[in-house]
């Protein structure tokens, strides 16, 4: 061996060692198992605290062999990764690549062939201080061709901690891995199950445009649908409608599951949620959906500001001034006092909310839905807001006696003062409390309680500030006539809110009922006005009070008619529609002389909507109904119309959809809950033949 040769060997050895060392940093060794090789790779060789980066478990099965998706299908097993990470380092769930479907006889599986990258995102906390980052993935898989072999591997890498450095050797692999991922979308999608059929509606124009004939929908829940039968996919211009047979082994409703939509051009993954009446009604509501889409933080900020404004009310502001003086004179306890006072205020507000929640629960137990799609509630809220506005305008006063009650109690502990402050202030705060009550009544209990706590905190805020920063007292404006003017200005938004409630009411029940409600509102305003006159003239108090009660009674009477009347004007169908709104009278009248098709539906019923899209409001069915002169009546159970409830009960149903065909001289024929154009046509033709 020459010196030259040995030198060469020496350098080769050094180069190899260097390659191996750098390589070792960002990739594990390849673990060979029967029919599959596994490896863990990192996009970075060197990472820093606070960084998030991707790692991938790379599975390379033999040709023709596959591993499984999150839902493996009829058999098989999804690959599972258990991570071992140092403290301060966390990892997200697997980002599954675009799956493929494998059919084996009458069974199907979902999985991946070829090089498969299971990406996961690792987050390092800001405080991570170690010099290296060891990552271990224990991977369990099932690899199958005709038959299956379970395998597992423990794959480890150790990254350096320093300034971030990409692993040059894995750039291509990570770009391949990302190319294999579906796009993620936040399209609204709901599913329900009726008559052993799963119906999914994706409410998005892009989703609808995926339906180009090559679309397949991978359902990410294990025992929800039968995997082998393809089911049906249809679309309107803005919705994608997927129907699949319910799995034989279905047992639990998933709350939500991933849906992977794949056609020859795009692959998109989204979440599908269970369509519940309650879930749907939150979206169908109005006030509810606005703030919840605003998010809770914004609502709480509003509550805080609202609570703060309460301090400017004429009967609160003097208390604030007194308290400010008190705090200024007792600097030593100022902070403690301020805190106790705050606690007292918040406690009282939360208590009020709790009482309200209890009342609501009682109401719900009586079957009274506190949802905004209930026109009765909307009508009552309109009355409430008119009363609030008139009160702020000074037409009448509330509980002025309470003001006197609270006096002389200032020496109590600060907590009690806080409690009392809320009570003392109630004559002025009541209008605003009314708003908060009106809002809270349609919220889930925890949110309502939080909102009230924020309101209390807002109200106590000036005292807190005073306690901690006594100098703030200098900025306090002096009490005076301006406060009354301010209060009166506050009436304007209340009137506007009433207008909005009336608009909602009108949309729900029609113009006739709206007119009646307006009459009720005027009578109610008259009642409050006469009451207010009584307050001003104690001599004629009895007479004025009697008069206002009379007006209240008439108001109640008219209000009752207004809400009774609701179904008459309900959602009158635009003339371009082929259907008419169902009423029992109309149905009876029509069915004597001509065929009638009744469709009982609701906006939150996914199956109902799907049926209308694919089988009822289609060209084919329109033509069919026209040809046989069938009148199409649609009953909308979204508002739980009691007459529809009764109709459903006649057919032993307690829910929608329900489709009934009435042919003169025949028994009514109930159609299946899952409709197609041909099912409707067959039903009609059968009825016609049996005449």
């Amino acid at each position: 061996m020459t010196v030259f040769q040995s030198t060469i060997r020496y350098f080769v050895a050094i180069i190899l060692t260097t390659i191996m060392l750098t390589a070792n940093a960002s990739e594990s060794e390849i673990v060979e198992q029967p029919h599959l090789r596994a490896q863990l790779i990192s996009e970075y060789t060197q990472v820093e605290a606070g960084q998030t980066f991707d790692v991938a478990v790379k599975l390379v099965p033999d040709a023709g062999w596959h591993t499984y998706w999150i839902n493996p299908g009829d058999s098989g097993l999804a690959t599972v990764i258990n991570w071992q990470l140092p403290e301060g380092v966390s990892v997200g769930s697997i980002q599954w690549p675009i799956a493929e479907k494998y059919n084996i006889g009458h069974l199907s599986n979902y999985g991946f062939e070829g090089d498969t990258y299971l990406l996961s995102t690792i987050s390092i906390s800001d405080s991570y201080a170690a010099a290296t980052l060891p990552i271990t993935a224990e991977v369990d898989w099932l690899v199958c061709e005709e038959y299956c072999i379970p395998g597992s591997a423990t794959l480890s890498i150790e990254l350096d901690v320093g300034s971030p450095q990409r692993a040059a050797s894995h750039i291509d692999e990570f770009s391949t891995a990302r190319n294999n991922l579906p796009e993620t979308a936040d399209w609204q999608a709901y599913f329900d199950i009726q008559d052993r059929q799963v119906t999914i509606i994706v409410n998005n124009e892009q989703a609808a445009s995926l339906d180009n004939g090559s679309l397949y929908a991978f359902i990410g829940a294990t025992e929800l649908v039968e995997h082998q039968p393809p089911g049906s996919i249809q679309s309107t211009e803005s919705e994608l409608i997927i129907r699949r047979d319910l799995n034989t082994y279905f047992h639990d409703y998933p709350e939500h599951f991933p849906l992977l939509l794949v056609n020859d051009k795009r692959a998109v993954q989204l979440e599908v949620h269970v369509a519940e009446q309650s879930a749907a009604s939150v979206n169908a509501g109005s006030i509810t959906s606005e703030p919840s889409s605003l998010n809770l933080t914004t609502v709480l900020l509003f509550a805080l500001a609202g609570g703060f404004i309460l301090n400017l009310m004429p009967c609160v502001f003097p208390v604030l001034s007194l308290k400010a003086l008190h705090l200024a004179n007792h600097r030593d306890h100022a902070r403690r006092d301020a805190l106790w006072y705050t606690a007292g205020v918040i406690m009282t507000f939360v208590l009020i909310a709790a009482v309200l929640m209890a009342l609501r629960a009682t109401g719900a137990a009586l079957g009274w839905g506190f949802q905004l799609q209930n026109p009765i509630l909307i009508g009552l809220l309109a009355l409430l807001f008119v009363a609030i506005a008139l009160n702020l305008s000074g037409v009448f006063q509330i509980g002025t006696s309470l003001m006197r009650l609270g006096q002389g109690q200032q020496q109590q502990s600060s907590f009690a003062t806080g409690v009392l402050a809320v009570v003392i202030a109630s004559p002025c705060t009541a209008p605003f409390m009314g708003i908060a009550l009106g809002f809270a009544i349609i919220q889930p209990a925890p949110i309502a309680l939080t909102i009230f706590a924020a309101l209390g905190l807002g109200m106590a805020l000036p005292f807190l500030l005073l306690g901690f920063f006594p100098l703030v007292a200098r900025w306090l404006p002096k009490p005076g006539a301006w406060m009354n003017t301010f209060k009166e200005w506050m009436a304007i938004p209340m009137y506007l809110t009433t207008v909005w409630l009336l608009w909602v009411f009108g949309r729900q029940v029609g113009i006739d009922s709206l007119a009646l409600l307006l009459v009720a509102l005027i009578l109610f305003a008259t009642a409050l006005w006469t009451w207010g006159k009584g307050q001003l003239q104690p001599s004629s108090k009895g007479r004025q009070l009697a008069l206002s009660w009379l007006f209240i009674a008439v108001t109640a009477f008219i209000f009752t008619i207004a809400i009774q009347n609701q179904q008459v004007g309900e959602r009158s169908a635009p003339t371009s529609q082929q259907w008419q709104a169902w009423t029992p009278e109309l149905q009876r009248e029509l069915q004597e002389t001509q065929p009638v098709f009744v469709n009982m539906t609701a906006d939150w019923c996914i199956t109902c909507l799907a049926n209308e899209r694919v089988a009822l409001e289609t060209e084919a069915t329109r033509a069919l109904f026209a040809e046989h002169e069938i009148r199409y009546l649609k009953g909308d159970w979204t508002l739980q119309d009691p007459r529809i409830t009764e109709y459903l009960a006649n057919y032993q149903r307690n829910g929608v959809p329900l489709y009934v065909l009435y042919w003169p001289g025949q028994e009514p024929k109930v159609l299946p809950q899952i409709l197609t154009n041909s099912i409707v046509r067959e039903a009609v033709e059968q009825a016609k033949q049996s005449i």
Partner: protein, 208 residues
């Protein structure tokens, strides 16, 4: 401020895709209904039918001795102990092999008997369903796939052997024994709490 933020706004319909694709659903047996009949020979050449076991609780176990999920329950003695527990209470435990000739799990009658004695298994009989007729009648999908039929011939349970769908032997002890719970309930004259569960395992290797 739009009041109608409904998830589905009613809109006019444009042209829709044509008729629905015909869904050719595989006929599945239903729990609470009479179990499908069968007529299959065992390793001794004797014929077994559901009718002949009228009056007895019958357990059906689909198997494929090379399937890792089956191995999981035999290597841990879970399956054998269930077979003993059931036969002591006069349950007719029928192990069914629906693997077609030439596929994984297909065995000759002699091999089947050998497997039974090697594994110390205790079924009443091992049925050889080479052509898959019985498997298809029950829509048996995987091995192991378990069924419990009550003394009146009503299917009371169909599904997996337990709650953890892995091939990991350690999971047997950790899992909720769905099948065993169901079989015990039927023996006690009750309706099982869970009558269908996820059947997990290897696909049954049917003849095409």
């Amino acid at each position: 401020m739009n009041f109608k933020t409904k998830p589905f706004v009613r809109k006019a319909i444009l042209g829709l895709a044509g008729a629905l694709l015909a869904t050719t659903a595989f006929a599945n047996p239903e729990v609470g209904q009479p179990a499908p009949g069968f007529n299959v020979i065992d390793t001794q050449g004797a014929t077994h039918t559901l009718e002949q076991y009228q009056g007895s609780v019958v357990v059906l176990e689909w198997t494929n001795h090379d399937c890792p999920f089956v191995v999981k329950h035999y290597a841990t003695e879970n399956m054998q102990s269930l077979q003993r527990e059931m036969s002591e209470q006069d349950v007719v435990w029928l192990t069914v092999i629906s693997s077609a000739p030439g596929t994984q799990g297909h065995v000759s009658p002699e091999q089947a008997d050998e497997l039974t004695s090697n594994r110390n298994a205790a079924p009443a009989a091992v049925l050889l369903d080479e052509d898959g007729t019985m498997g298809r009648a029950y829509a048996a999908r995987v091995t192991p796939h378990m069924y419990v039929i009550d003394a009146d011939g009503i299917l009371q349970y169909a599904g997996g052997i337990d709650s953890i769908p892995t091939a990991n032997h350690d999971d047997v002890a950790r899992a909720e024994p769905y099948f065993a719970n169901a079989a015990r309930a039927v023996l006690a004259g009750e309706t099982p709490e869970r009558q269908v569960t996820r059947p997990y395992g290897c696909t049954v290797k049917y003849a095409d």
